[in-house]
């Protein structure tokens, strides 16, 4: 089916991993694949750290009295959990790792358009991460990841500036990654790789990159103004200085709502790839799945005010935001319907990535429909800032994005490392994650509707049963996440050698060796078949 196959070099030849062993060859590399691996390592560290903070929060909430740690420590724990998970794990998660690794290969290029800028993004991410760690080391920060003023700018006695600086610097890392992707996708596609032949993973990243470019600078300047207000009392948001605290919320959510789509769109791209591969079928409604990514990215900029229905925002503005929020639910639903339809008359097999993908569909659907509830202004009156909201966005972020990230890591692990992971352990961990996740977060929907506010260190006794269930689930979830860490590490050294295309999947990345050579292709590819041409593959086989 492909001429590049014939040119596949023997595995003994150089690939991106064994091409140089020095520190410099990694830390000064321009190779997108090596940078992706640097990201994999660094975001895993932050994921573990964020997970530890979450663990502390969950342990504290077993009892209603707030007796494990004092209120200030608890507030710092959930703040650090939020800051680290949002800015240092979720936002870079899929784009900077799997996206970085695959986008040039998927479009048929030797590298991203600007390899040095790609490396710079990683360094910015690391510097931002160190700012965050510094903040944690000097006593932590207790503003909540949302940094609402005037608490953050005037009243808090914690390391607000260091944390905001961390998020600010990491923001530029995100901008530069998005910039690199858009230029690469526009200008560096292989001959024959038309827009209609781009994998949906690439489409999803294109939409994500647009948000990164247009949204991130707004939070960057907002954080700068916040830091100025805190450091020099240059007033922008504090009413004591003549400012409006609601303006901060507007500017914050102008980025941070679209940022939710930065977190979920790449995951949707991963799911599209996995479902088509393990159903052996062309994605149902390719153009609609691709278009819905763009629709989400653009509509996503019109909905930020739904975080402020009870914040003293005008009810009329709220009405507009609510309406568009309902509208943005539609393209997400379109994706779910199309994925489901892709399985129709397919040949479905249940390897680990597919388990994660099916888990994603279920959990993301729940996250989506509860989002529709919260978009309803009257219901938000009751549910805003309760555990219902916490459960909702964890269903989207963890049930959606983390499931997709895990699914994607399993799917492309053989490609990235040249080794197979142990399938039985992986299936076990996928099951644990699914069960543990639901046990952790489903009770929070109920306790939220009962009226328990979020960010509460101590709480009325009648909510305890739900919090205990949640903590129990979190421990299962924790085991589910630890297992892959262990068997992935094991597989690098002891795993079975992976063939170039272990799943008989379509796409340029499966035509190159595992792991790919430094410049990805020995012979630059020319694309002359449709995307996801699984049926053609079989016709070809039949002819042979």
């Amino acid at each position: 089916m492909s001429a590049t196959h014939e040119a596949t070099p023997p595995t003994s030849e150089l690939n991106y991993l064994n091409n140089g062993w020095t520190w410099q060859s990694w830390l000064l590399t321009g190779d997108h694949k090596r940078i992706a691996m640097l990201y994999v390592i660094s975001i895993t560290v932050f994921f573990a750290l964020g997970g530890l903070f979450a663990g502390a929060v969950r342990l504290e909430l077993i009892t209603p009295q707030g007796d494990m740690m004092d209120a200030e420590t608890y507030n710092k724990m959930f703040t650090m959990h939020g800051v680290i998970m949002v800015f240092f794990f979720l936002i870079p998660s899929v784009p900077a790792t799997i996206g970085n690794f695959l986008i040039p290969i998927m479009v048929g290029a030797r590298d991203l358009a600007f390899p040095k800028i790609n490396l710079l993004s990683w360094y910015l991410y690391v510097i931002g991460g160190f700012c965050g760690l510094y903040a944690a080391a000097v006593g932590g920060v207790d503003t909540g990841w949302t940094f609402y003023t005037p608490y953050s700018s005037t009243y808090s006695n914690s390391a607000v500036i260091a944390t905001a600086m961390g998020a600010f610097v990491a923001g530029f890392s995100s901008i530069l990654t998005g910039l690199n992707f858009i230029v690469t996708i526009h200008k560096m596609r292989a001959p024959g790789m038309t827009w209609g032949r781009l994998p949906l993973f690439v489409w999803a990243h294109y939409a994500t990159s647009l948000i990164q470019l247009l949204g991130t600078p707004v939070i960057a300047i907002t954080l700068v103004l916040l830091m100025l207000e805190r450091a020099f009392r240059i007033g922008f948001f504090d009413p004591a200085l003549g400012g409006d605290p609601v303006l901060f919320q507007h500017l914050f959510w102008f980025y941070s709502h679209p940022a939710v789509y930065i977190m979920i769109l790449p995951g949707m791209g991963v799911i599209s790839e996995i479902i088509t591969c393990f159903s052996k079928k062309h994605v149902f409604g390719y153009h609609f799945v691709a278009g819905s990514s763009l629709a989400i990215a653009i509509l996503g900029f019109f909905v930020w005010g739904h975080h402020m229905f009870t914040a003293g925002q005008s009810t009329y503005a709220g009405m507009v935001f609510s309406l568009i929020t309902f509208a943005v639910a539609v393209p997400s639903a379109v994706k779910i319907f199309n994925w489901t339809a892709t399985m129709y008359k397919g040949s479905v097999s249940y390897e680990t990535p597919m388990l994660y993908a099916m888990g994603f569909i279920g959990l993301f659907t729940i996250g989506g429909v509860t989002g529709v509830m919260l978009a309803t202004m009257a219901i938000d009156l009751h549910l805003h800032d309760t555990y219902f909201v916490v459960a909702h966005f964890h269903y989207v972020m963890v049930g959606g994005m983390v499931m997709a990230y895990m699914g994607g890591m399993h799917f492309w692990w053989p490609k990235m490392t040249g080794r197979m992971y142990p399938e039985h352990w992986a299936k076990l961990s996928a099951g644990l994650v699914f069960i543990g996740f639901n046990l952790t977060f489903f009770p929070q929907f109920i306790v939220g509707y009962l009226g328990m506010p979020r960010r509460y260190h101590a709480y009325p006794e009648e909510f305890q049963v739900f919090q205990v269930l949640s903590t129990a689930g979190a421990s299962v979830l924790g085991v589910g996440y630890l297992l892959p860490l262990i068997y992935f590490t094991w597989s690098i050294f002891k795993g079975e050698k992976a063939p170039p295309n272990p799943y008989n999947a379509k796409g340029l990345e499966w035509t190159v060796p595992s792991p790919p050579p430094t410049e990805n292709f020995r012979i630059m590819p020319v694309v002359n078949e449709e995307v996801y041409a699984y049926a053609e593959q079989h016709e070809e086989k039949a002819l042979v």
Partner: protein
């Protein structure tokens, strides 16, 4: 590479127009004493457009570049308009029914 090279004359022509615009906007404010947001910002928009079209060569550029400029304008517009929407309509809902009939009180 075949790329458009603008003539020196064109550059100086644009420069002269920009200067005239700057003079005009200052003249209106300082000599005529008119503080007008409309006039000042309209002149600024004209100047910015000239710089974008000619100094930044957008007039002779790829459609993608033109698209990028429009995206910048549109998304800046989204930010400003949707933001103002809240502030403009904030107090509408707090008026008790029938208050407007009470009329203007003369002190």
């Amino acid at each position: 590479m075949e790329h458009h090279v603008s003539s020196t004359r064109l550059y100086f022509g644009i420069f002269a127009t920009l200067m005239v615009c700057t003079f005009l906007t200052v003249f209106v404010r300082m000599n005529l004493g008119i503080k007008s947001i409309g006039i000042a910002l309209s002149i600024a928009v004209v100047k910015a457009t000239l710089v974008i079209l000619y100094f930044m060569h957008v007039k002779y550029s790829h459609v993608l570049t033109k698209l990028a400029v429009w995206i910048a304008v549109v998304f800046l517009g989204i930010l400003l308009v949707m933001l103002s929407m809240d502030y403009a309509s904030r107090d509408w809902q707090y008026h008790e029914p029938g208050w407007e009939k009470q009329g203007v009180l003369k002190n």
